[in-house]
């Protein structure tokens, strides 16, 4: 039929029928002309040849067309999938043991974005940086493709055969079988492991957390007779006192806590509610940055403070203690009494938490909470947290067993002891003595490389599973994509080795039928229950009230004494992005500037400015940190120094999670050109591993190490910081304006706000400009409001934006050259010298009505939309960078090079709704215009108006504190138009009449009207 019409147009020589021989001929031409001996081949004919060549090329250019493209449809299209339409699957985040609920946004069969599940009872729509970035782990080309045996590629059949055979012999010889894992939040998997171990005589499942909270559980063992980590309810607390617990950043369940904390500090409610938060800590943590009152103490003092607070409260409560507490902490009694008073007034409505691993400290904290009657109110005892099940005593025991070579089989599940434990080297050696080592790691790292069998687990987005974050709250994991490699769910592996051939799906389903469905209360069909669970991604079941045992004072009688580290002590802390280093190979996490230090791509030794001065250390100097154990063994490392205001002078703080094997890949992250510098340290890795400084003492992983000696190496190494100047007051070295303050962030105190005599911005004086107003915004008027009181600076929005808008990773060198690409950045400013107040200000394109960037663009590549959006049209941009120069907020980002993703696999994470920008063009925050357009089209399709809150920008969606609100200013009933009415509203640089569409709500601190936090009038201890 087609042959009837022979003539048709063609797109390339290859395709065109007539073309081929033409190419042939023209080739012959040159063959003939050029094969001539030169003397015969005169200049004239050469010129002719040249002329002809030119013509041919001209022609070729003239009729060159786009390459032929194939469109290959499904053979048999799945019912529920329409190409080009996104679907959301409710599942559970596999980022850490907090097990937040997420929605996986799927497009054409692959997840392209993770979003918090708004209905999840704990995370309630929030998602942290790690959760957001965990999408990229799925598309990591370094993941193992299948099982490995002795480092050689193998098949599951083979691996299973060998493992089972060996297990048989072990069973016969009654050998010891150990499963070493991090906190397993999946009840099904816990059960599965138990059934697997049941068949052995000597089998145990040992759990530890690299970031351990073991002391909390043990303390409750002592005081309440049951080893539990209670469920902390910050939303119910009106007074919060935290001793070194970074609960907004990395402690136990940050997203949930942030959400609770924020809901305890809602100022738009009537009457405004604002909890009072005191942070007693040695380094400046994200939580400390938010505190109303922040007290700098050395790790040694910390316990003393707790003790005296306990004593003080005991006195107030008139509780008879069977022993004397030392209530003296030198000069600070006044503060302690004040704390105690505040807590006592809020009995039952307050919460005292402690991040220390000292059992004594934790027990005293329990006492305090008991005296204040917080158990049952702000500490949920019945539905305890399942997020930190680690038991360091057992870990200690295991390592002894290993040393003695008593273990016959060791199964390592999502742990990397060789890297993250202090006795890593010993562990490495010990592993060699274990006949059967099976590891479920998904990549080749410190520990897995030593295992005989590597049985890689699925990525959480590939497999069925479940998670119990808090007793009674069960999250369900469902696959969002077919497994990319020949990996296998741990569930199936354990099942297979205990002779059970069921799939993960069947296993989870069965477990839920038997153990969860019965408690679900609302009886009915299991299938219906299951479908609902799959749809919503979680179920909450009733928890039977375990009658809390009476507080046993006996625990207090022989309190373990504090081992006070002497002199300069090292505090090892996790960064919000890197945690214990589990995802160190994730470029999004590596490139995220730490919300406090604003440094990316490295860990470093933080000193307080005073300490640095005392030690004669400049920022960027590489210092040698070393300490000696009682045994005389020296631990040392070399790190660049970083000056951290607000940190205690007796402390050097170092982040864990760096120096991981596998980060070598980032050596050439970023563009390759003449003067490009490597993105990794001398040892080829990103940062240094600080785990050797952790100690495993008397059954506890301790993150404080005393007796640190600091020596300078004379070398320097630049830190990739994304922020140059750290305060809103001008540098002192400039005459006249030195010390002058810029009111870019506005701030007040709660009393001032309640008194009603605070107004963040002078009522917008009608600026009558020169121009006629040709641009009335009829229809929608998009705008954003950011509540700086709620914002904790956790940076979830930054990564969310990166994932949504295909923002490239540029690598350390480019960050050093101030070329990071994040559209959303978190500006962090300090006020004060060493007792600092901290504010975080999310800064993104302000979408000004009178946008300075638009006027100067010569090619109209950035103009205003009829709905108040400052549009950037990539394909029109020629790259003058004039707009970026003229942007008062410096929120525009330029593609200095072609910033490529690492490989094709990573490209699968790209959002098909956003253009991938090429080299030489400007880009910036678009208010997620692709979401706006989607909503508009949907509204038109369903003949409805766009409802308020229907459009959520990526940053807003991800924010655990719900600090960001986006909406339509022209809709008087919308949330945003209500928010901008309040007294706290201001806009940055408003006085210049740029008319930004982003509004900020002033920072409010819960202090006396003078705005001074009590900590300021005490001399630094």
């Amino acid at each position: 039929m087609a042959q009837r019409k022979a003539q048709h147009y063609w797109r390339s020589w290859e395709e065109g029928p007539g073309a081929s021989e033409f190419v042939q001929i023209s080739r012959d031409e040159f063959a003939e002309s050029l094969d001539r001996p030169t003397e015969q081949f005169s200049r004239r004919s050469f010129l002719k040849a040249a002329g002809f060549t030119a013509t041919v090329t001209a022609l070729a250019a003239g009729c060159s067309h786009a390459p032929v493209e194939k469109a290959i449809p499904y053979l048999i299209q799945p019912e529920e999938i329409v190409p080009g339409v996104s679907y959301f699957y409710a599942t559970t985040c596999g980022g850490c043991s907090a097990a937040c609920g997420v929605l996986a946004k799927n497009r054409d069969g692959r997840p392209i974005k993770l979003e918090g599940n708004p209905e999840h009872p704990l995370s309630r729509g929030g998602l942290c940086v790690v959760g957001q970035a965990s999408l990229l782990n799925l598309y990591d080309s370094h993941r193992l493709k299948g099982p490995l045996r002795e480092g050689q590629e193998s098949t599951w059949a083979e691996a299973d055969a060998h493992i089972r055979a060996q297990l048989e012999t072990i069973r016969a010889s009654r050998g010891a079988v150990r499963v070493l894992s991090g906190t397993v939040s999946s009840p099904t998997l816990r059960a599965q492991i138990q059934t697997f171990l049941a068949s052995f005589r000597d089998a145990r499942h040992i759990v530890y957390d690299a970031l351990s909270s073991s002391a909390i559980a043990d303390a409750h063992q002592a005081t309440h007779g049951e080893r539990r980590v209670p469920h902390f309810r910050f939303d119910k607390a009106d007074v919060i006192v935290s001793f070194d617990a970074d609960f907004l950043g990395t402690w136990i369940s940050p997203v949930e806590f942030t959400r609770d904390y924020a809901s305890g500090r809602r100022l738009d409610t009537l009457p405004p509610r604002m909890s009072h938060h005191t942070q007693v800590e040695s380094r400046l943590s994200l939580t400390g940055a938010k505190a109303d009152q922040r007290i700098r103490v050395s790790p040694a003092e910390n316990a003393a403070w707790i003790e005296s607070l306990a004593a003080c409260l005991a006195k107030t409560a008139g509780a008879a203690l069977p022993f004397a507490l030392n209530g003296e902490v030198g000069p600070h009694n006044s503060i302690i009494e004040q704390l105690a008073r505040r807590l006592w007034q809020a009995r039952g409505r307050c919460l005292v938490v402690c991040g220390s691993q000292e059992p004594r400290a934790q027990i005293l904290v329990n006492l305090i909470n008991h005296l204040l009657g917080n158990y049952g109110t702000t500490l949920d005892w019945n539905a305890p947290s399942q997020q930190k099940a680690g038991n360091d005593c057992e870990l200690e025991a295991l390592s002894e067993e290993l040393d003695r070579g008593r273990v016959a089989a060791l199964f390592l599940l999502h742990v990397n002891p060789v890297y993250e434990l202090p006795n890593g080297p010993a562990f490495r050696a010990a592993l060699g003595r274990v006949p059967l080592v099976v590891n479920f790691a998904d990549r080749w790292e410190e520990t897995s490389s030593l295992s005989r069998f590597l049985c890689p687990d699925h990525n959480p987005l590939e497999s069925w599973g479940d998670a119990e974050a808090v007793r009674g709250v069960y999250g369900l994991c469902q696959p969002a994509i077919r497994p990319l490699g020949n990996t296998r769910s741990v569930l199936e592996s354990f099942a297979a080795w205990s002779g059970d051939t069921r799939s993960a799906y069947e296993l989870v389903r069965a477990h839920w039928r038997e153990n969860i469905f019965p408690h679900a209360g609302n009886a009915g069909e299991f299938d219906a229950f299951w479908d609902r669970a799959v749809e919503t991604g979680f179920v909450s079941t009733a928890v039977q009230a375990t009658n809390a045992k009476p507080f046993s004072f006996s625990a207090l009688e022989n309190l373990p004494k504090i081992s006070t580290p002497a002199g300069l002590s090292m505090v090892l802390y996790p960064k919000v992005a890197m945690l214990d280093g589990r995802f160190a190979e994730n470029p999004w996490l590596q490139e995220l500037p730490d919300p406090i230090s604003k440094v990316a791509w490295d860990n470093y030794a933080c000193f307080s400015p005073a300490a640095a001065q005392r030690l004669g250390v400049q920022e960027g100097d590489v210092v040698r940190l070393e300490t000696t154990t009682e045994g005389g063994a020296t631990t040392s490392t070399e790190l660049p120094a970083f000056l951290q205001p607000g940190q205690h002078d007796q402390v050097v703080a170092v982040a864990l999670g760096y120096g991981r094997q596998g980060t070598e890949r980032f050596a050439n992250a970023g563009p390759k050109w003449l003067f490009a510098r490597s993105g990794v340290g001398a040892d080829g890795r990103v940062g240094k591993n600080a785990a050797p400084f952790v100690t495993l003492r008397d059954g506890y992983l301790q993150y404080v190490r005393g007796g640190i000696r600091v020596t300078s190496t004379g070398r320097r190494s630049a830190l990739a910081s994304t922020q140059g100047h750290h305060s809103l007051t001008m540098p002192k070295d400039l005459p006249l304006v030195g010390g002058q303050h810029r009111d870019i962030v506005r701030e007040t105190t709660l009393p001032a706000l309640l008194a009603g005599d605070f107004k963040a911005a002078p009522s917008p004086a009608k600026i009558n400009g020169l121009w006629p107003t040709d641009h009335p915004y009829t229809g929608h008027r998009w705008a954003m409001a950011i509540d700086l009181t709620a914002c904790t600076g956790c940076s979830g929005c930054v990564v969310a934006c990166q994932a949504e808008n295909n923002i490239p990773v540029v690598g350390k060198d480019e960050v050093l050259r101030h070329r990071e690409m994040h559209w959303m950045r978190i500006d962090r400013y300090y006020a004060g010298e060493d007792e600092v107040d901290v504010v975080h200000q999310p800064m993104l394109c302000q979408q000004c009505d009178n946008a300075p960037c638009e006027t100067v663009c010569p090619v109209i590549a950035t103009v205003h939309s009829a709905e108040g959006l400052n549009q950037q049209i990539y394909n029109r941009c020629v790259g003058t960078r004039y707009c970026a120069n003229n942007c008062p907020y410096k929120t525009r980002r330029f593609n200095w090079f072609n910033y490529m993703r690492e490989d094709a696999l990573q490209n699968l994470a790209l959002n098909p709704d956003v253009t991938v920008r090429s080299r030489g063009i400007m880009e910036k925050c678009s208010f997620c215009v692709q979401r706006i357009e989607a909503a508009r089209i949907e509204a038109r399709r369903s003949d409805k108006l766009i409802a308020d809150g229907q459009i959520q920008t990526a940053c807003q969606q991800s924010c655990p504190a719900q600090a960001i609100v986006f909406g339509d200013l022209n809709d008087p009933s919308s949330r945003i138009s209500k928010m901008v009415q309040g007294p706290r509203r201001f806009a940055v640089l408003e006085e210049f009449n740029f008319r930004p569409a982003v509004n900020y709500l002033a920072v409010v601190r819960n202090r006396d009207a003078s705005g001074k936090s009590p900590s300021e009038d005490r001399s630094n201890g």
Binding site: L75, G84, S865, Q871, E933
Partner: protein
């Protein structure tokens, strides 16, 4: 001598290429403009036959057009909705029936070569049952309409307000092989949006935006 030879050959070549160019010049477009592109497809599917004579609605096959950015190319399974029963042009089947009656035997099943390609793709045997020996081979159609990556055109947005498919794709129901009729330049899009703003679509008032971010983001 050689020079003259070269000269002649070159002149011939030049003449030839100019000839080719002359042919080209007729259909010259700005770079990127594919107007008039009409590739041969792997299966000689005739829109004239299906959309024209049989009067199948466009969205019967391109169903995604109502809900998605892409109109989508129908899966082979959609073809099978009819071609499970229709394996060749009606006339041919009739003829075979008559012949069979005459020779009083069961009519042989006739499968037209083009439709055979669908069966082959789905790995079906002549009883139209899945044949495990054969392996599935998706049909690689040659794409006719293509917008640059930085343009986000959404079919559903247009179909749902009642823009006729023909407005952009031309009288497809008269084409045996689909031809790229419109030039798909930005001006072409914008002008349509403008006129629609003024006159509405099919007398129904609509307000398509001419903001840049309507298509570019």
């Amino acid at each position: 001598m050689n020079d003259r030879l070269i000269t002649i050959v070159l002149l011939v070549g030049l003449a030839f290429s100019l000839g080719v160019f002359a042919v080209q010049a007729g259909s010259w477009h700005l770079p990127g403009n594919q107007q008039g592109y009409e590739p041969i497809q792997p299966i000689a599917f005739s829109h004239r036959l299906h959309a024209g004579e049989m009067q199948l609605g466009c969205v019967y096959c391109h169903s995604a057009a109502e809900v998605s950015r892409h109109a989508g190319i129908p899966p082979a399974s959609t073809c099978m909705n009819c071609h499970r029963y229709v394996s060749a042009p009606l006339g041919v089947l009739r003829a075979e029936d008559d012949l069979a009656k005459k020779e009083n035997r069961k009519p042989r099943s006739i499968v037209s070569p083009e439709i055979q390609k669908i069966y082959a793709a789905l790995g079906l045997d002549d009883q139209l049952a899945r044949d495990p020996q054969k392996n599935l081979a998706p049909i690689a159609w040659t794409r006719v309409y293509r917008l640059p990556d930085f343009v986000y055109f959404n079919h559903s947005a247009h179909v749902n307000v009642g823009v006729a498919c023909q407005q952009c794709h031309g009288p497809v129901e008269t084409m045996d092989r689909v031809k790229h009729v419109s030039d798909l330049t930005m001006g072409w899009c914008v002008n349509c949006h403008r006129t629609a703003n003024a006159a509405g679509v099919a007398t129904k008032p609509v307000h398509p935006s001419t903001d840049c971010s309507t298509c570019h983001y």
